[in-house]
């Protein structure tokens, strides 16, 4: 490093690239992919229909990715959120079929999500059990509970029955599907939470070095538990959004969400080692993952290629991110 000292002795900030490198990278990947789709299928991708379609479906897992980002930054993982989606939505359905007004049932469902998150958080942070292991266990637990209380049956959620719920979770406003409006609103909320509150600051510190954080008086148990609870609550909200989108609550709700969501968080540049990450990254990455799905089919490529394409985009992006990050830190490519 041969940087000369500035004349007035003022210290230089780290470069823009260093601070926002991985976020810029992911946005770049998104743009390149979009251009690829436009070139491959201009008639489809110059039309708004395709964008409406994936603006409706992407937030169904994308909003969970925003919340899961917090858990991953604390150095943990939650594999049980698909089951929490189903359990919370099941509680909602039970409540409305027993005559409770839907807004109260919604609160009840979200509280179920908070309770599930609390269980995860306490087991992980207070009892110090690796989250990778215990959330597999709670995943079966929550799913099993949901199947037992619903007796494996579904519940219709049509617009005629619940016009208010559909206005909240399925309509479009000013031509934008409300799902994406929710995604934008939750991006704002989670960004503020992560970057402008003490809770968010402690999420970074606990994920970076839990011992240091504790030595400085930060309650790591509380921080991690709140991160899991956030994922639980937003998970249930996503479960409802998904069910209302299909006019029906299926007992299998949440199946197929696990890998998409986790891939969005990691593709968005949040480190599996904890301590670094961004909700903006997860936001953009969610839409990239959502676009692959819609894009492959619309571009006239056989749908069997979807997973192959997912795999290529995720593996290549994560490898590039890692290498760029090490280059910026002036390490070797292997980091050793």
């Amino acid at each position: 490093m041969s940087d000369a000292k500035p004349k007035n002795n003022r210290v230089a900030p780290p470069s823009f690239l260093r601070r926002y490198g991985s976020q810029l990278g992911i946005i770049g990947v998104g743009l390149v992919m979009w251009l690829g789709f436009v070139i491959a299928a201009p008639t489809v991708f110059m039309n708004t229909f395709i964008y409406v379609a994936f603006a409706q479906t992407t937030p169904q897992f994308g909003i969970i990715a925003l919340a899961l980002t917090f858990v991953v930054i604390t150095g943990e993982i939650d594999l049980s959120f698909p089951s929490i989606m189903a359990l919370g939505t099941a509680i909602f359905c039970l409540a409305v079929t027993h005559g409770l007004a839907w807004p109260f049932a919604l609160v009840l469902g979200l509280l179920t999500g908070a309770a599930c998150g609390w269980v995860n958080g306490i087991l992980v942070s207070w009892l110090n059990i690796p989250s990778l292991v215990i959330t597999i266990g709670t995943s079966f637990l929550f799913r099993g509970l949901e199947l037992v209380i619903m007796n494996g049956t579904g519940v219709p959620l049509t617009a005629e029955m619940y016009p208010g719920l559909h206005a909240l979770l399925r309509e479009s406003y000013f031509g934008v599907p409300v799902q994406t409006l929710w995604m934008l609103a939750l991006l704002g909320v989670t960004w503020l939470l992560l970057n402008r509150t003490r809770f968010g600051a402690h999420v970074f510190l606990v994920g970076d070095n839990p011992t240091s954080a504790r030595l400085m008086g930060i309650d790591a148990v509380s921080v991690k538990t709140r991160a899991f609870m956030l994922t639980g609550v937003i998970g249930v909200f996503a479960g409802l959004m998904t069910s209302v989108y299909g006019y029906y609550f299926w007992p299998t709700t949440g199946d197929g969400f696990l890998l998409n969501t986790i891939a969005s968080v990691f593709l968005g540049g949040t480190s599996v080692f904890g301590g670094t990450g961004s909700v903006i990254g997860s936001f953009v990455a969610s839409y990239i993952i959502g676009a692959i799905n819609a894009g492959i089919v619309s571009a006239g490529i056989n749908a069997f290629y979807t997973q192959l394409c997912f795999g290529l985009v995720i593996v290549i992006s994560v490898v590039l991110q890692t290498i760029i990050d090490r280059k910026i830190r002036r390490q070797s490519i292997t980091g050793r």
């Binding site: 940087d3 210290v11 503020l192 030595l215």
Partner: protein
């Protein structure tokens, strides 16, 4: 080993009475009586494994004493002693392991666990950045082009990291500053700067606990000395009672035989 108060009539800032600490089957501290009075600098000496760091972490509320031991702050017995409580009452520590989060920028480390908020309850990031920059140039003497409040700690040298840890402890107007081996791994000039810091604490009328392996660092700045050995207080000396040569002699003896006499 209970003894008469070195300052009759005065209340210690912090006092431990009959404090023991057991980890599983290992007894790290046994029946410790320890006090720091206002405006004094207390040195803590002892070999590796004597229990110095455990004692410091008990004073800080990181370790909870075994049943039967009590922590007093300004004469008041405190049962729910915790790090947050201790820091709230004005006790700050520069830990041996520095307690930094190395992937985070300096400003996040500087205000760790103490983040200032605006009237709206949101983090005052602007203030944290500006204050960090000010503290770094005024107190730590950083002029290097590589150090900016947004720099992550992992890019800094050992001395610079220690500078962050020390400035953090002094910034919050602490009444008692604990320095656990602050000169470890520092260059000569950095060490001198750190020792000046310790002297300044006394000038400002505050108290400090100073732990260091190097008796030539400890002796000149302290008022009183505790010698720890195998988890027990082996001796307490006023600096006026003992010369450095005698002290060194006794430390050798305690390491060999376990007694000072």
């Amino acid at each position: 080993m209970a003894e008469a108060s070195p300052r009759p009539g005065e209340t210690p800032v912090i006092e431990l009475r009959n404090v023991s600490k057991t980890f599983g089957e290992v007894r790290s501290l046994s029946d410790i009586n320890f006090a720091v009075y206002p405006g004094e600098i207390v040195g803590l000496l002892g070999d590796n494994g004597a229990g110095k760091s455990t004692l410091v972490k008990t004073v800080m509320g990181f370790h909870k004493p075994d049943a039967g031991g009590d922590v007093f702050f300004k004469g008041e017995k405190i049962d729910d002693w915790s790090v947050a409580r201790a820091r709230g009452l004005g006790i700050e520590t520069v830990y041996q392991e520095r307690a930094l989060c190395e992937k985070q920028p300096i400003w996040r480390n500087m205000f760790m666990g103490r983040e200032p908020r605006t009237a709206w309850g949101l983090l005052d990031v602007k203030k944290m950045r500006e204050e960090s920059a000010r503290l770094m140039s005024e107190h730590m003497g950083f002029t290097s082009a590589a150090v900016h409040p947004d720099n992550v700690v992992t890019t800094m040298s050992g001395g610079e990291k220690q500078g962050v840890a020390i400035t953090r402890a002094l910034y919050f107007d602490a009444q008692l500053v604990i320095l656990d081996e602050p000169t470890m791994g520092l260059s000569l000039t950095e060490t001198k700067k750190t020792l000046d810091f310790v002297s300044n604490i006394k000038k400002a009328g505050k108290s400090a606990i100073f732990i260091d392996h190097n008796i030539f660092h400890v002796y000149p700045v302290v008022d009183r000395l505790y010698v720890l050995d195998r988890g027990k207080v082996a001796g307490v000396y006023d600096k006026s009672e003992i010369s450095m040569e005698e002290l060194i002699d006794r430390l050798y003896r305690v390491a060999r035989t376990g007694t000072l006499e």
